[in-house]
Each structure stands twice: as structure tokens, then as C-alpha cells.
Amino acid sequence: MRALAPAVLAALAFAGCQRETRDFRTDPPVLAALDDVAPLPNRIGGAPPDVYVALGQPYQANAYALSEGKRLYDGMNCKGCHADGGGGTGPALLDGWWRYGPDIVSLYVTLRDGRPRGMPSYADKLNSEQLWQVAAYVQTIGSYRAATAATSRNDQMQSRPSENRGPARAPLTEPPSR
């Protein structure tokens, strides 16, 4: 009995490990289908593609996807304008005020098509999966609620409370002026 206990515990522990399957390369048809968003006519809000739902919304609740989004956020110069979420020439992302809506489809459309006041289009720089990763990461920066997944801490300057501390949004105060 005494010898059995560690074995049972080990078996239970291994049973608890579910290894996430990750493809080196997303199937091209899936990539193409992931771009099939249906934004509302004013380009704010809308429906995600069917495949996004069929895949079980794989980006917003996946730490790997969020970390990839964070890496791209740095590499694609998002920091140049939005800093680490606090804003600069671009609006802040931490503060819970979203010019074009807080939902993931609005964020995807923002990244893919750009917005008039200086936000460039990343359609020719990132594929649809990368766009979803960045959109999911940006959404966690200014999240209204705690997420079940978070990225790791900054590799460099710890410029703000890390993403895994729950909702980053400040208590709703005055909206930012223009």
C-alpha cells in the first residue's frame, strides 16, 4: 500500500498533464478562413469568422498565442505609438477606452485595415493568425475582466503592472479627451 501511493499520485499527476497540440504551420485554408470577419458597416463590432468559433476561440484564452501577440506587438512597432499600453501618439490601450470598440472583431479590423487617425494597416505584414494573436494580446492589455490566460512578464523594462495581474482597466473615470 505504501509503495502504491507514489505510483498512484504519479499516475494522477501525469493524467493531469494535457499537452497542447500546436502546429508549426496553420493550414492555409484555415488561415484564409480566419480572415473572413464580418464587421458592421461602420467597421466597429461584427461577427468573427465561423472557423474562429469552430476552433474554440483559440487566441484569447491561450497563453502561447497571447505571448506571440506580445512579441509581435514589440516587433511591429506598436510600442512606438502606444508605448506599453499607456499611449503616446496613439491612444492608450490600458485605460479601457476603445475608440473603435473593445471586442476582438473590432480589434482585428483595426489591425488589418488601419484606422483614419494614423493607425496603419498590417494586412501586408502579418497573416490572419498573427493578426488574431496581436488582437487578443491588445485586448488583454485593456481587458474589462480577468482572463484565464496571460502572457509572461516583460523581458525588458517592467514599465507597468504585468498582464497576469487581472484586469488592467482603470476604474471608469472621465473619457480621455480627443
Binding site: 512597432n77 512606438g80 479627451s177
Partner: protein, 571 residues
């Protein structure tokens, strides 16, 4: 109690009536000028709200009984009469993409009045001429390209029938340039770049540098890694002209990206001072002030042209408060540095190498990729962000200074069109003690004559008139000091922080006026206006970190939803 109040009121009214009568009598006899004795009597005549919440830098232009204001982006050019009534308004078409490239709060300057026309530049890259009498647009040229990351920040310089325009966009990876336009038609006469082959930079037989390091072919290419000069920054700040020498003088901006390890070499001709032939644009001399710029200082700070004896010889001087913290006095005929003394606490640069004029950098404050360097002084914003002034009565140079420091951690960054390739994590810091000061610099002694310390950095220009030093602060105080001693004589509380430059003028009625724009913003004030989340220390170029500190916190909420023009008058 009620009776007492009534009696008080009537006595006040009586005094006011008597004062008004007395005032009108003296006005008729001899209108007083703005000076040490009269400043205390200065009173607000009227205000004009611009309806624009961005930072209002620069100064209005004044002609006769008209006052012209160029509001921040999206711009409106407004002509007012001296009672504050609007005469006309020109609203140029604007490209909203410019907002995304508007680093440092996107402040602009202008307009400039010359020969009955107003000349102005817009953030989205247009240079315009407008008839001052009617508001008719004489010409409108797109000179800077937003697609290339270029914006226009500074007021144009109008001199000798030419309009000089310099580009901004260091952080967007744009190649900086200076262009001359024909003032009559707006036709471009020439354009010289800050980096690249000699032909494009305008380096030719006329070029004579005071320093041997500047000799050699195509330094604008060879002092960069292959092709890196194409992304090089280099944007002119305020441009000054010396008609007698026939030159225009300006500083170039910092190279891009901030990360110095991505661009080994001295990165000519960024972060230095250029003198160019006013007619052809050919370079006369170049003096590097921050070669291989490691701290994103650039050299595009506002300068002064001063003619005065130097060590017993009359010389034509250029007073250059370099962003590295040293006030440099140059001979503007040759570019030779005559003096360099720190005007704020510095530790990034310990002094200047006499042979090359280059700064001697302190090893402890050098920066490298993925390495945090703490407490670099001054911060990338530099000690002097707005126009200094020469006080004619005292000979002192009045410098509005900022003493902010910074932590800087360069990181790899590529140039992506439409984005800013800052290439560094940066946070500004408020040092122990006052964060700013008005420094009255004695050129003769190479030392401050007096220093008026300020709790916040100064970000607006100084006006020197009638023995006074008049300037505004980020927390909205307009102050007048005695330029001889720094003694405070007068103060007015404005509805918003001031980053503009006061102007004094005499109206057609013979009375002395003072006008200033209030509207906080710019690299040291933009966090006051909202839209920046200060929990991120790197927000707004690192300003958020400074604003979180006690001394600076007062400016939060100082932003008004609209800037305003304040016009004061002597009774």
C-alpha cells in the same frame, strides 16, 4: 454687515471710476510701455478660446490692429482684431494620419508674418501663404510626405523672398531635409537632405568645417552601416537666418532608430548644426554636437544669433543650448565652438573634446541594446525646448530649462512605414530638487547670472522686453521677473498650462499689449490632457513616469478642453 458691504462696494466703485478717469488721462498724455514699473498694472483685456485641446506652442503673429493665431492640428488660422473679434478664419484640409506621427504631443509653431502675408506650415506637411488682410490663400504646397514619415513642426523662416521649411520625423525613420520655397509662388527652389551622398546633402566646394572630422567624401553614407542612412533621422528644428553672411543655421535631429547598436558609426549629418548658403542651400559648415547619438538628443533645439564682443573681439555668435545639457557658443561664420558649459545638471557628457568639438561621453551613461542605463541626465527632451531670449537691457540670455533625467533601454527596432521606430524603452524622471529653472546666462562669465527655480520643467518660450523676463509654466502661471535679478514682479493664473511664447506689442491705440497662448501639451505636458495612461511608465515618451512623481503630479488635470489666447493690456 449689509451696510458695511454696501459702503465697501461703493468705495471700490469710486476708486474704479477715479482710476479709470486717471487712467484715460494718463493714456492720452503718454501711454506707458511694458517695463519694470508698469508690469504690476497689466490686466487681462480679453481671451479667445481656440476650441482645440492640443498643446499650443509658439506665439501669435501681430500686425497693426490684427492678431493671428494658428491653432494646433487640425489647424485653423484665425485673424482677430484687438478687441478679440474674429475677422476671418482659414481651415486647411487636413490628413488625419498626421496624428499618428505627431511625436512629442504634435505641437506646431507659427504663423510668420512677412510682407502682408502669413506663412505657415501644417503638421500634415503643407506649407501655405495667406493674405493677412483678407484670409485669401495665396498658395498651398504639399512639401512633406506622411507616407515617408515626414511632418512639419516648426514655423517657416521667411527671409529674402524665400520660405525655409524643415521636416520632422526622426522617430518615424524619415530622412530629414531643409527646403527653400519661393515666397511669391511656393515653388520649391531647393531641398537638401540631412543624410546620404554629398550631392543630396549639399556638401561641395563651399563646405569648410572647423573640425577635421568633417572632411571626407560622402560621410553621410560612409558613417552608417550599409543603407542605414536611408532610414536616418535628422530633422531641422527652428531655422535662423543671418542675412549679412547669407546663411541659414539650424540643428539636425537624431538618427533613427534610438538603439545605437543598430547604427555603428558617427551617423553624419544627424545631431549637429548646419549652416547653409541661403540662396543655394550649399552647406557652409557643420559642427557635430552628438555624433552617433546614443540618447536621442539630436541638435534641433532653438538657438539665438547674438552679435557681441567675445574675448575682446567683435564676433557673430550662435548660442546653441544643446539637448545634451551644454550651452554652446559658436562662431557662426565658421562653426567653431568657443564655449561649452552645462546649464542643467548633466552626467551623460562630461565635456567637449577641444580637437573635434565632439562630446566626451561618460562611460557609465553610454547606452547599448537590451541594456538598461539608469539616471541619464538630461533626458532625451533636452534642457531647452522652447525659444530662449536675449535681454537687451542686461545682455543675459534667458533660458527656459528642464532638468528631467531618464532611464533608457535601447532595443532592436525596424522601420515600418506609418509607425514610429523608437527602438528604446524610456522613462523620464524628476530629479531631486526643482525640475526646471529660468536661467539667466551671462555669456561673458560663462556662468548663470541668476537662476529662478521652478517646481516643474519649463516648456514655453521666454519674452525679454523692457528689462523683464516673461514666461509661462506647465501649471498655467504666466510670470514676469526682473531680468537683472530674477525677482518675481507679476504673476497671472491661466486656465491651462502654458507652452507658448509671450509676445509684447503696441497697439494702434498706443497702449502696450501682451499676448500668450495657453494650452498644455508638448513632450513635457501632453500627459496633462488625458488620453495617456500613466500606469505605463513608458507612455508618451516616458513622460508618464515623471508625471507619477509627486512634483509633477500637479499638472494632471491642468489641461483645458480648449486652448486659449490671452491678451493683456496696460490701462
Amino acid at each position: 454687515m449689509g451696510l458695511k458691504a454696501y459702503a465697501f462696494e461703493t468705495s471700490i466703485r469710486g476708486a474704479l471710476v477715479a482710476g479709470a478717469l486717471l487712467g484715460s488721462q494718463t493714456a492720452r498724455a503718454d501711454p506707458p510701455a511694458l517695463g519694470l514699473e508698469t508690469i504690476g498694472r497689466l490686466e487681462l483685456a480679453w481671451t479667445f478660446r481656440t476650441g482645440n485641446p492640443r498643446g499650443h506652442a509658439g506665439a501669435p503673429a501681430v500686425s497693426g490692429d490684427s492678431i493671428f493665431v494658428l491653432t494646433p492640428f487640425p489647424h485653423a488660422l484665425v485673424a482677430l482684431d484687438l478687441q478679440g473679434h474674429e475677422r476671418w478664419r482659414v481651415v486647411p484640409d487636413s490628413d488625419p494620419r498626421a496624428e499618428g506621427l505627431a511625436t512629442g504631443g504634435g505641437v506646431t509653431d507659427g504663423p510668420v508674418l512677412a510682407g502682408g502675408r502669413l506663412y505657415l506650415t501644417t503638421l500634415d506637411g503643407h506649407a501655405m501663404a495667406v493674405e493677412a488682410a483678407t484670409g485669401r490663400v495665396a498658395w498651398d504646397r504639399a512639401v512633406a510626405s506622411l507616407d515617408a514619415g515626414e511632418t512639419l513642426r516648426n514655423a517657416p523662416l521667411v527671409q529674402g523672398g524665400r520660405v525655409y521649411v524643415g521636416s520632422a520625423g526622426d522617430d518615424a525613420g524619415a530622412r530629414g531635409w531643409l527646403a527653400a520655397l519661393d515666397s511669391g509662388t511656393g515653388r520649391e527652389l531647393w531641398r537638401r537632405l540631412s543624410t546620404g551622398p554629398d550631392g543630396e546633402v549639399g556638401i561641395g566646394p563651399q563646405f569648410r568645417s572647423a573640425y577635421p572630422t568633417e572632411a571626407g567624401a560622402d560621410l553621410g553614407v560612409r558613417t552608417w552601416p550599409p543603407e542605414a542612412w536611408r532610414q536616418g533621422g535628422g530633422s531641422p528644428g527652428p531655422i535662423l537666418a543671418d542675412a549679412e553672411l547669407g546663411v541659414v543655421v539650424y540643428g539636425t535631429g537624431h538618427p533613427a532608430p534610438w538603439n545605437p547598436d543598430q547604427r555603428p558609426g558617427s551617423n553624419r549629418w544627424t545631431s549637429g548644426l548646419f549652416a547653409r548658403d541661403a540662396a543655394t542651400g550649399a552647406a557652409r559648415w557643420f559642427t557635430p554636437t552628438n555624433p552617433h547619438d546614443e540618447h536621442a538628443y539630436g541638435a534641433a533645439s532653438p538657438n539665438l544669433l547674438v552679435d557681441r564682443p567675445w574675448r575682446g573681439v567683435d564676433r557673430k555668435l550662435l548660442v546653441h543650448p544643446d539637448p545634451n545639457g551644454f550651452l554652446q557658443v559658436l562662431d557662426r561664420e565658421t562653426g567653431l565652438i568657443l564655449s561649452a558649459k552645462p546649464i542643467v545638471p548633466t552626467n551623460a557628457v562630461s565635456g567637449l573634446d577641444a580637437g573635434s568639438g565632439a562630446p566626451v561621453r561618460a562611460d557609465a551613461k553610454r547606452t547599448h541594446a537590451d541594456t538598461m542605463t539608469r539616471d541619464i541626465c538630461p533626458a532625451w527632451t533636452g534642457p531647452v525646448l522652447a525659444e530662449p531670449a536675449l535681454s537687451a537691457e542686461t545682455g543675459f540670455v534667458l533660458l527656459p530649462t528642464s532638468r528631467l533625467c531618464m532611464d533608457l533601454e535601447p532595443r532592436d527596432s525596424g522601420v515600418i512605414p506609418g509607425t514610429l521606430s523608437i527602438g528604446a524603452n524610456v522613462r523620464l524622471k524628476v530629479p531631486a530638487g526643482p525640475a526646471g529653472a529660468l536661467v539667466a546666462w551671462d555669456l561673458e562669465r560663462e556662468a548663470p547670472a541668476w537662476t529662478a527655480e521652478e517646481p516643474l520643467p519649463l516648456a514655453g518660450g521666454v519674452l525679454a522686453t523692457g528689462g523683464l523676463a516673461i514666461y509661462g509654466t506647465l501649471d498655467g502661471r504666466l510670470k514676469a521677473l526682473d531680468a537683472r535679478s530674477g525677482r518675481s514682479l507679476w504673476e497671472y493664473r491661466a486656465p491651462s498650462g502654458i507652452i507658448g511664447r509671450p509676445v509684447a506689442f503696441t497697439g494702434p491705440d498706443g497702449r502696450a499689449y501682451l499676448a500668450v497662448l495657453a494650452g498644455v501639451g508638448g513632450p513635457l505636458g501632453q500627459a496633462a490632457r488625458g488620453g495617456i495612461d500613466v500606469r505605463d511608465a513608458t507612455a508618451a515618451g516616458g513622460l508618464a513616469n515623471a508625471v507619477r512623481q509627486a512634483a509633477y503630479r500637479d499638472i494632471l488635470g491642468q489641461g483645458d478642453e480648449s486652448g486659449s489666447l490671452l491678451v493683456f493690456r496696460l490701462p
